[in-house]
């Protein structure tokens, strides 16, 4: 059985939503935090609800609905989301009030919307969708966990047209705390020169990307999602190479068969060292691309990469802004996305043109 990406939709710090432009009109930021470009939510959500919804709920619901529209599907067979921090804006709001108001006279709304499955639940509620509904919250592989579940559901013949997405919001509070934890650069940088800075820290980001997965072939499908895998705490770079080689071999491929490798380079010298080493070993003959200068680093940033790869395969075009090395095949047929989050969680997504 094959798994196909029927449609996709992505809200990010770039103009990726509701447009035919494919990253030619790139937005430059001079900051260590990239904020998502908000669509007009009135097209997707009842204006009465918009006011009460946090940023991540609005992004998630809008991206999910756009994805369904793009896939010409009214009712998905399952709804699965991935998010590491969940509804952090509502969480911080409720926690702050609890402390500052000494537990008195607290309004319930922020608490109600703070549960991690709120986005998946709100999508189900709006669609009146009674099907399987799940939310994965596992750090840097939250999105891949959701994707893995969706693929299993298809293999089990439990459902078709599975809506799966990654959502993450960056709030002022989370940005302050994550900066203190040393995740981001000390000084603002241009996101378009992110990889030249040769310093510690990356730039933070946020976004929502949804996909409709099916096992039914169609010329309308964007791409085939050939395989997904994750691994945890590899011993060293050789171990990483071994695992990537085994992953490709399981799909009867060698590194040289991949037309484009999209890596999770994020401009932090500590993070990018692995990518640098692989570019000299396993991927030395491959065309390489990166994407985190466009969407920022965040726990479900790989969902942006999947949106990117799906569109590259469908459109037969690789946006210049993602190229790290020269393109050898103008219209790639096989793309490997390799991401790692703080060298703990590594993920591989293999896509093929249909």
């Amino acid at each position: 059985m094959k798994v196909y990406i029927r449609s996709a939709a992505c809200i990010s710090a770039q103009k990726t939503f509701g447009t035919n432009d494919f990253l030619t009109d790139v937005v430059e930021y001079n900051s260590t935090r990239l904020q998502a470009i908000e669509p007009d939510y009135k097209e997707f959500i009842d204006p009465k609800l918009i006011r009460r919804m946090s940023h991540v709920i609005k992004m998630g619901v809008a991206a999910a609905k756009e994805c369904l529209k793009n896939g010409d599907t009214e009712m998905p067979g399952a709804i699965i989301t991935g998010t590491a921090f969940g509804c952090i804006e509502d969480t911080v709001t409720f926690l702050t009030r609890t402390i500052e108001q000494n537990e008195e006279l607290l309004p319930p709304t922020a608490f109600i919307q703070s549960t991690h499955n709120t986005v998946a639940a709100q999508i189900a509620l709006m669609l009146k969708c009674h099907a399987y509904n799940n939310t994965f919250v596992h750090k840097g592989v939250s999105f891949e966990s959701a994707l893995f579940d969706a693929i299993m559901l298809l293999k089990e013949q439990e459902a078709d047209n599975i809506l799966v997405g990654g959502t993450e919001e960056m709030t002022d509070t989370s940005f302050t705390i994550l900066t203190r934890l040393g995740l981001y650069k000390r000084r603002p940088v241009s996101n378009l020169s992110l990889y030249k800075s040769e310093s510690k820290g990356t730039i933070g980001g946020e976004g929502a990307a949804f996909f409709l997965l099916t096992d039914k072939p169609s010329t309308d499908n964007l791409a085939e999602l050939t395989a997904v895998n994750t691994f945890y705490k590899p011993k060293d770079t050789q171990d990483i190479e071994k695992r990537i080689t085994a992953f490709l071999a399981a799909n009867s491929l060698r590194p040289d068969d991949i037309d484009l490798v999209i890596t999770g380079k994020n401009g932090d010298v500590r993070n990018d060292e692995i990518h640098r080493q692989l570019s000299k070993s396993l991927f030395k003959n491959n065309s390489l691309a990166y994407y985190k200068h466009l969407c920022g680093e965040h726990t479900v940033a790989s969902s942006f990469a999947l949106w990117l790869a799906s569109n590259i395969l469908k459109k037969g075009v690789v946006p210049d802004v993602i190229l790290e090395t020269k393109l050898k095949v103008a219209a790639p047929k096989k793309i490997l996305i390799y991401n790692h989050y703080q060298n703990k969680y590594h993920s591989l997504m293999l896509l093929s043109a249909i």
């Binding site: 059985m1 709804i79 590491a84 921090f85 969940g86 969480t91 409720f94 926690l95 702050t96 609890t98 402390i99 500052e100 000494n102 537990e103 008195e104 607290l106 309004p107 319930p108 608490f111 109600i112 919307q113 703070s114 549960t115 991690h116 499955n117 709120t118 998946a120 639940a121 709100q122 189900a124 509620l125 669609l127 009146k128 969708c129 009674h130 099907a131 399987y132 509904n133 799940n134 939310t135 994965f136 919250v137 596992h138 750090k139 592989v141 939250s142 966990s145 893995f148 579940d149 299993m152 293999k155 089990e156 013949q157 302050t176 705390i177 203190r180 934890l181 945890y232 705490k233 703990k344």
Partner: protein, 402 residues
Amino acid sequence: MANMDQTVYIAGVGVISAIGNNVTEHLASFEREEAGMAEITLFDTIHRHTRPVAEVKLTDDELIAQTGLSTHNGRTALLSLVAAREAMADAAISGLQELRVGFVSANTVGGMDRSEDFFVKFLADNSKGKLKNVFDHECGSMTEIVADQLGITDFMTTISTACSSSANAIFYGARLIRNDVVDVVVAGGADAITKFTLNGFNTLMILDDEFCKPFDEHREGLNLGEGAGYLVLVSDKVAKTLNKPLYCTLSGYNNSNDAYHQTASSPDGTGSYLAMKKALDKSGLQPSDIDYINLHGTGTPNNDSAEGTAVKRLFDPVYPPMSSTKSFTGHTLGASGGVEAVFSALAIKHGLIYPNLRFETRMSDLPFEPERKFLKDQDLKHVMSNSFGFGGNCTSLIFSKI
């Protein structure tokens, strides 16, 4: 393709809650009909004298001493480690290093108890607050800490769907086996009581100021609880190599969405009905095959009415014995599906039906009432366990005798 006909067995169980720190203590508390609720001691709160809770009877320091963890990164992780370790020790699978082992854990609060400490200082001055207290805020961190202690690296993930979280983790674990991703999986969940959740449920006005009375006409809400519960699920192949009796199989499961409201259940219990009905379909059983239902039974007017209506629709006119063990443990939120899955597996193994404590008056619109007595020597072939959560997330599991 997945082998959906493969039987998934339960080879080990582990649990910690207000009524015991391990399986043996739980069985003793059930027999003595002793509930775990009392005044809160874990943290200072204005709700101390008005909102009884069901705390695990070990302090953080005692849990740290027991688990041997060198750092305290969240009470949820401490509870999780105690129960997951018990489950693994109970399963006693030899040659584990030769097998593919997974850990699927669920929780809803992550390291919130530590984040609360951090935030007190942070709110006064954003450059203050000890970072180590907020470093493991994420739900996924709880899973990671425990997996590292258990030595599990092959597969790991965290599920968070409010109060059905760990029921979803358990059947996700079974699916991992059926999809040939792992041979053995430790699945369940944990949640600690925090100021955040206590106040959250308090704002919803669904906390009872007395000990809760699930499925009673005069029920007034839930008592928050805490704990952890895990099952060790094994493949058919692994089951054949084990030298001790298995508990039961996980024969059916389903997750359906109520799609009615973010927090409230639909009056007709659509989601609950669908979850129970489709779990039966999955196991190939009829409603009359179920010998005991471990109800979600939170004690809130809304849940018990919706769940009761759904039970009536599915089981009428013959009702199996049923009860809410939340009358003992309080509502352990993200842990409840795991804790109650352990109770269900124990019910089958030991032939037990647990009493629904403090039940007095049948609900006016229901033709049945829960079991009041602790029953032994029951021949239970199939047990259903319900877990329903915010966001309309409804899950039913069915455990079957081997």
